[in-house]
Assembly symmetry: C2
Homo-oligomer: 387 residues x 2
Amino acid sequence: MAFSGLSKRIRELPKSNFPAIIRMAEEDKSIISLGIGEPDFPAPKAVKQALKNAVDKNFTHYSPTAGRHELLEAIAKKLKRENKIKIDDPHRQIIATSGSSEAIMMAIMGIVDIGEELLVPNPGFVTYRPTVELIDAVPVSYNLSSEDGFQIHVEDIERLCTPKTQGIIVNTPSNPTGTVLKKKVLEEIADLAIEKNIIIVSDEAYEHLVYDKARHFSIGSLNGMEEHVLSLFSFSKSYAMPGFRLGYAVGPEKLVNAMQQFHLYTTLSPNTMSQIAGITALEKCGRDVEKMRLEYNRRRKFLLKGLQGVQGLEIEVAPEGAFYLFPRVTNGMTSEQASKALIKDAKVLTAPGNEFGTKGEGFVRMSYATAMPKLKEAVERMQENFK
Amino acid sequence: MAFSGLSKRIRELPKSNFPAIIRMAEEDKSIISLGIGEPDFPAPKAVKQALKNAVDKNFTHYSPTAGRHELLEAIAKKLKRENKIKIDDPHRQIIATSGSSEAIMMAIMGIVDIGEELLVPNPGFVTYRPTVELIDAVPVSYNLSSEDGFQIHVEDIERLCTPKTQGIIVNTPSNPTGTVLKKKVLEEIADLAIEKNIIIVSDEAYEHLVYDKARHFSIGSLNGMEEHVLSLFSFSKSYAMPGFRLGYAVGPEKLVNAMQQFHLYTTLSPNTMSQIAGITALEKCGRDVEKMRLEYNRRRKFLLKGLQGVQGLEIEVAPEGAFYLFPRVTNGMTSEQASKALIKDAKVLTAPGNEFGTKGEGFVRMSYATAMPKLKEAVERMQENFK
């Protein structure tokens, strides 16, 4: 059989309706976007200056496939300080990646073979399921429900484990639900991972964005989890650095060291200057992170309150993390119908919940990474026009 | 079967001895490296300034998965001007990638399914074969021989085509051999691709680095090849921008458009600021490229001449491209033995030829992306001490 123009692995990836909805929104400049998960803040000043210094000093050459030594060491210190994850050898247990997107892909490549299974949250971040399918492995959904604020039930996970299960992706704080997983839940998952001998991929891209009484907890910090957790982190959200394409993974030496080797076959390394700027972010931008977090929280509270006045949408448990709300659509519309109606009637862009998995059907995702005046206008419009 | 710590797809990747040889070299500061394929020049001044301007203007946010519109348009103009490749719609026929490494991986993902075959050069660039294996497809070597300067014989290709063959990777100028493929050879391959209905992945990372009478020719510019060639380009070599991690692919709309979609599952996009700097490279750095090319050519001629005085190494046909020489080892040593002896006796680091495939056995790769004084010292040492 000759070349058909596209591999089956790609042809069979799920089709998304979200790009069409975004295009609908782009046609009308008055539309306010709560659709995209991107900080509206620019990168911190110190980070920008560090990038400029790096290029002045001609750090324009290749970096090692693990990442630059000084970055790996700064990451190890941050992990100890902020995540209580202890690293013996940063150069073998950490890899810097081109965004945490690449870390997700590389983790999946390192964990599952053809036909093997990886448990993924439903609803969950849009890339998990297709990335598993991309390499001919099998994503198996574990369902999350709004009634208990989308917490994980470990019995559900246990029931889904088969001899083919290699691991589970856990995401806290969660995109799209904003849920912060409870420490107790994470401890139960850790115990199960040891019992079943599977690996936990812990996506903590929103680690710094938790509010009120919620605390972010890194499952990789639990005793005895050294060989059972690969933790993924990102500079995109915490430090408002999405354009830098910088993330990292930390975990079992065997897996991470292999990722460092086959990095040559994906992107070799993240941008060299971004890596140097990343050191500044880790070491000097704690205040910037906190300032942004406080502003996100102010918006979150405002949006939560505002949604109480929107007839067709309902929040059952207020989420305490990331920068998303994930209200249920209560007027009988599907996610897609609701997103389209919100554009047409209220001129507000949201992401249809079904984009995040079948169990996201009947919800919409709203990002509050949008400046307060726009958020106010969006709430008013939804209160008046969405029923 | 529970998780063994690493997927089979990764466990079975070929092991490389080159890192161990590099470590040998790192132990002695007097060793001169001809080992790594990286420009010794910093990025052009205008590119560095453009990067700084981009960060000043807060281009620190996400970019579209295809790449930034203004970059795609600048690439389309460059392709028309320099490669004679005509683009109807840059936004659907071009994708900007995190280095051409990522373009190689994404191309392979878009072309081959489990068990399908992709023809790769032997010797050839180190990532082709493992990247095909990474996604459980099958790399099939076509052999190149030093006797005719490592040109491709289209009859060999024809013989290797099976019903499972989906495409062929062609690399000109070549890493590791420095060969510039002749236009006539490329025309024959184009005809064969149409006859067999396979796709050509044309890796042109070294497009600007050709010398003497050699001319770089883009197979994608041939009539009727719109649906049969995916051309890959890089900013790393031409513009001395490896740390920017920026490359691009151009080709059939169906394939490229799919790559734009599944970019979400690899790295989303290359670094945003790098993309803006890339526009400056394409539009304003022709003189920088030419200046570096002239210097590479000066070194190439010097090294070619110098190698005539090295007893254990021989060049049969002088290569006219990239920044590599690929001499045969004539003293009975294997590639690895020769590389180790060159470190030990002459204190010169080279890459063993077998790293580039079985047909690279008996050769070593030398990069002349090294400043002239060091190159002179390296030649003297090899002439005196390698026999």
